[in-house]
C-alpha cells in the first residue's frame, strides 16, 4: 500500500485539532489521525514537522498542559482560527481584489490574505488597467506589522528610536511622501509624537491588549503634522516663499492650494508656511535651488543667507 499522502495527514490533523474541545496528547492524536509512524521518536518527529507546517501557514496550534503522563496537549481554538464572515458583497470583493492587484506591496501577501477570505486565485481582468501604487510594506519594515497589531489590540509598545527607548500609545499608522509613520502619545515626553517606521530600531515590544492609554480627544490626524518644518518644537512663525514657474506646480501639489497667497502673471506663486523648525524649512527651500526665495520674515531670510555663505566659505577652504 502506498504511504498516506502527507497532505492528507496534515489536513486530518488540522480537522482533529479544530474539532477537539480539549487539548489532545500526541498519543490521542496518533489514534485519530492516520499516517503517523509507530515508533515514539519517529512519531514525535513527524508530528513536530506537521505542527511547524501548520504554524508557518498561520494556524494557531496551541500547546497546553494536560493531566496524565503526556503532560502536553494540542488544539486549535476555532475562535482564534476563523474570522467572522465579513459579509462582503460581490462588488466589494471585486474592489478589494483590484486594490490588491493595483497596489504593490513587495510580496504576494495581499493575495494570501484574499485567499483566507475566500477570494483567492486569479480574477478576470476587466476595464483599463488601474494606476499602480508601490507601498513599501514588509521589505525593511519589520516593525510595521507589530505596530499595526498594537493599534488594533490597543497595546502600548516600546521601541528604540534615535538611540533612546520610547514607550508609546500608538493611535494610528500613516503613509505619506513615500514613508510609513506611527503616530501616538509618547509616555515619557507626555507629548504627541510621530515616528518614522523605517527608523525604529529593532522590533517593537507590545504590552498586553488594552494596555494603551491614548489620551481622550487625541486626534491622530491632527498630531500627524503636515510638513517636516512642523516637527520642531520652536514657536510657530509664518514664512512667505516665492517659487518661480518651473517649480510652482510641484510645490502647490505638495503644500495644497490653501498655502498659495499670491500668483503672478509669470506663473510664479507665493506660498505661506507655518514653521516651527527653521532648519527643516531652509533645507526645503534650498532643494528648490534658485527657483525659490524666502521673502520674510527677515530672520528666516537671514538663516538662508547664512547657510549659503557657510557653503561658499567651506568651498573656499583648502
Amino acid at each position: 500500500m502506498a504511504p498516506p499522502d502527507r497532505l492528507e495527514r496534515v489536513t486530518d490533523l488540522l480537522l482533529v485539532l479544530l474539532d477537539t474541545g480539549r487539548p489532545l496528547s500526541l498519543r490521542e492524536i496518533a489514534l485519530r489521525v492516520p499516517g503517523y509512524p509507530d515508533g515514539h521518536d519517529a512519531r514525535r518527529q513527524a508530528f513536530e514537522r506537521d505542527k511547524k507546517l501548520l504554524r508557518d501557514e498561520g494556524v494557531p496550534v496551541a500547546t497546553e498542559p494536560i493531566e496524565g503522563d503526556d503532560q502536553i496537549g494540542y488544539r486549535v481554538d476555532p475562535d482564534a482560527y476563523y474570522l467572522p464572515d465579513l459579509g462582503l458583497d460581490l462588488d466589494e470583493q471585486a474592489a478589494l481584489n483590484l486594490a490588491v492587484a493595483g497596489v504593490h506591496l513587495g510580496e504576494p501577501i495581499g493575495r494570501e490574505a484574499l485567499s483566507k477570505l475566500g477570494m483567492g486565485g486569479r480574477w478576470p481582468r476587466r476595464g483599463a488597467p488601474l494606476p499602480v501604487v508601490d507601498l513599501p510594506l514588509v521589505d525593511g519594515l519589520p516593525a510595521l506589522p507589530a505596530l499595526f497589531d498594537a493599534v488594533r489590540s490597543r497595546a502600548v509598545v516600546g521601541f528604540g528610536y534615535r538611540g533612546e527607548q520610547r514607550s508609546v500609545d500608538v493611535a494610528g499608522i500613516r503613509f505619506r511622501g513615500g514613508h510609513w509613520y506611527a503616530v501616538g502619545w509618547d509616555r515619557d515626553r507626555q507629548q504627541a509624537r510621530t515616528f518614522r517606521v523605517d527608523r525604529i530600531e529593532g522590533l517593537p515590544v507590545a504590552g498586553d491588549p488594552g494596555s494603551a492609554a491614548v489620551p481622550d480627544g487625541f486626534d491622530a490626524d491632527e498630531a500627524f503634522s503636515r510638513d517636516p518644518w512642523h516637527f520642531g518644537t520652536g514657536s510657530a512663525v509664518e514664512v512667505d516663499v516665492v517659487v518661480d514657474a518651473a517649480e510652482a506646480s510641484r510645490v502647490v501639489t505638495e503644500l495644497g492650494a490653501d498655502a498659495v497667497v499670491d500668483r503672478a502673471d509669470d506663473d510664479s506663486v507665493v506660498v505661506r508656511l507655518v514653521v516651527t523648525d527653521v532648519d527643516a524649512l531652509v533645507s526645503w527651500v534650498l532643494d528648490l535651488l534658485d527657483h525659490a526665495e524666502v521673502l520674510g520674515p527677515p530672520e528666516v531670510r537671514a538663516a538662508v543667507v547664512a547657510r549659503l555663505e557657510a557653503v561658499i566659505g567651506a568651498g573656499a577652504r583648502p
Binding site: L83, G118, G313
Partner: protein
C-alpha cells in the same frame, strides 16, 4: 519535489479553493482550475482526494463536503476547511493598506464598493487606523485620461536633474506612484524613446491627437521604488524604480556631518561606505549636476566631496547663484 507541489503549498491552495468555492457554492471545473492555475484534471484529482479526508468518528461529510461532478465542483458553506480564516497582522495590514492606497488614487472608487469593503474589513480587524496619502498633482487626471484613451500629450516639463524646462510630445504608457510621487513612463517623440516623467513636474499638458495605432505590449510592472529623476531613458531597462543612468550620471563619494546621515538614508541609491574618523562616507548615484547641487546644499557646509574632485565646485557655485536672489547686484 517542486516547490509548487510541496505539502504547505498544496494545503494553502486547497484551503484557498475551498474557501472560495464555499462562497460560490458551485463552479464549473474549467473556471475553478484556471482560477487556481491548475489543469482541470489536476484540480479534480486534488479535490477528489480531499473529499476522502476526514477521520472517524466524524464522517467526512460533517467536516469537509466536496462534490465533484463531470462539469462542476461544489462545497458547502460552513464546512470546517471552507470558512474564512483570521488574517495575520501582516496580512491584515496588507489588505487595509492596499485598499487605503487605492482609495487615495482619484477616481478609483466611483461606485463606492471599495469604501464599503474597507469599512467591513476594518471592523473585523479591530479598527486599526491605517491611512495612506498620495500626492494628487493637478495634471494626474489629464495624464490618466490620455493613457486610457491612447492619446498623445504635448507637455511642458521641468527636469530636476538638469534644471531645464522643455516642451515634449509624449504617449503615456504606465502611470504609477512610488516613494511619494506619481510617475508616468511614456514614449517621448523628441527623444524617440521611452522616458520617465514625474507628474508633478509637468507644468502643462494638452491633448495632441491620437497616439500610434500600433500598441506596444506593456512590460509587466515590477520592482518597488521609483527612479531618482523623471526624464531618463527607461527603454528595456531595469524595473520600475531601479536607477536609470543618464548621460551625466556618475558615482559621487562624499564625507558628511554625522547629524545629516538621515538625509542620505532617504535616497534609495545612496550607500554607506567606510567612514573617515568620525565623518561617515557615503556614495550616491548622481543623475545630473542640479540634483547633486540640491543634495549638497541640503547636507550643509560640513560636507566634502571626496570624488570626483571637480564636483567640489558645485555647491559653492550653486550657493552663489541662489545668493544672487537675496542680494541683487545692480550692474
Amino acid at each position: 519535489m517542486s516547490p509548487a507541489n510541496d505539502t504547505a503549498t498544496r494545503l494553502r491552495r486547497l484551503l484557498a479553493i475551498l474557501t472560495w468555492l464555499a462562497q460560490e457554492g458551485e463552479a464549473p471545473i474549467d473556471e475553478a482550475a484556471a482560477r487556481f492555475d491548475l489543469t482541470p484534471a489536476a484540480l479534480v484529482t486534488e479535490l477528489e482526494m480531499a473529499a476522502c479526508y476526514g477521520v472517524p468518528p466524524y464522517s467526512p461529510d460533517e467536516l469537509l463536503e466536496i462534490i465533484v461532478t463531470d462539469d462542476t465542483v461544489s462545497t458547502r458553506m460552513g464546512t470546517a476547511l471552507a470558512r474564512p480564516r483570521r488574517l495575520s497582522p501582516r496580512e491584515g495590514l496588507a489588505l487595509a493598506a492596499a485598499a487605503r492606497a487605492l482609495l487615495a488614487v482619484p477616481g478609483s472608487d466611483e461606485d463606492g464598493a471599495l469604501s464599503r469593503a474597507l469599512v467591513k474589513l476594518e471592523r473585523a480587524l479591530g479598527d486599526p487606523s491605517v491611512e495612506v496619502e498620495l500626492d494628487t498633482p493637478p495634471l494626474l487626471e489629464t495624464v490618466r485620461g490620455a493613457l486610457d484613451a491612447g492619446q498623445r500629450l504635448a507637455i511642458t516639463y521641468y527636469s530636476a536633474s538638469t534644471d531645464q524646462t522643455g516642451e515634449r510630445v509624449i504617449v503615456p504608457r504606465h502611470l504609477f506612484a512610488s516613494e511619494g510621487h506619481w510617475y508616468v513612463d511614456a514614449w517621448c517623440e523628441v527623444a524617440d524613446g521611452v522616458r520617465r516623467f514625474r507628474v508633478d513636474r509637468i507644468a502643462s499638458a494638452a491633448p495632441a491627437g491620437p497616439g500610434p495605432s500600433e500598441v506596444v505590449p506593456d512590460p509587466p510592472p515590477s520592482g518597488p521604488t521609483a527612479g531618482p529623476e523623471g526624464d531618463r531613458d527607461v527603454t528595456g531597462t531595469a524595473p520600475r524604480g531601479a536607477y536609470v543612468p543618464g548621460p551625466e550620471s556618475r558615482r559621487v563619494r562624499i564625507a558628511v556631518d554625522p547629524a545629516m546621515v538621515w538625509l542620505l538614508e532617504t535616497i534609495p541609491t545612496a550607500v554607506a561606505v567606510d567612514g573617515e574618523g568620525d565623518r561617515p562616507v557615503w556614495e550616491v548615484f548622481v543623475g545630473g549636476d542640479a540634483w547633486l547641487e540640491r543634495l549638497l546644499l541640503r547636507l550643509g557646509p560640513d560636507t566634502l566631496v571626496l570624488d570626483p574632485v571637480e564636483d567640489r565646485e558645485l555647491a559653492p557655485s550653486a550657493a552663489a547663484r541662489i545668493l544672487d536672489r537675496y542680494r541683487p547686484n545692480p550692474s
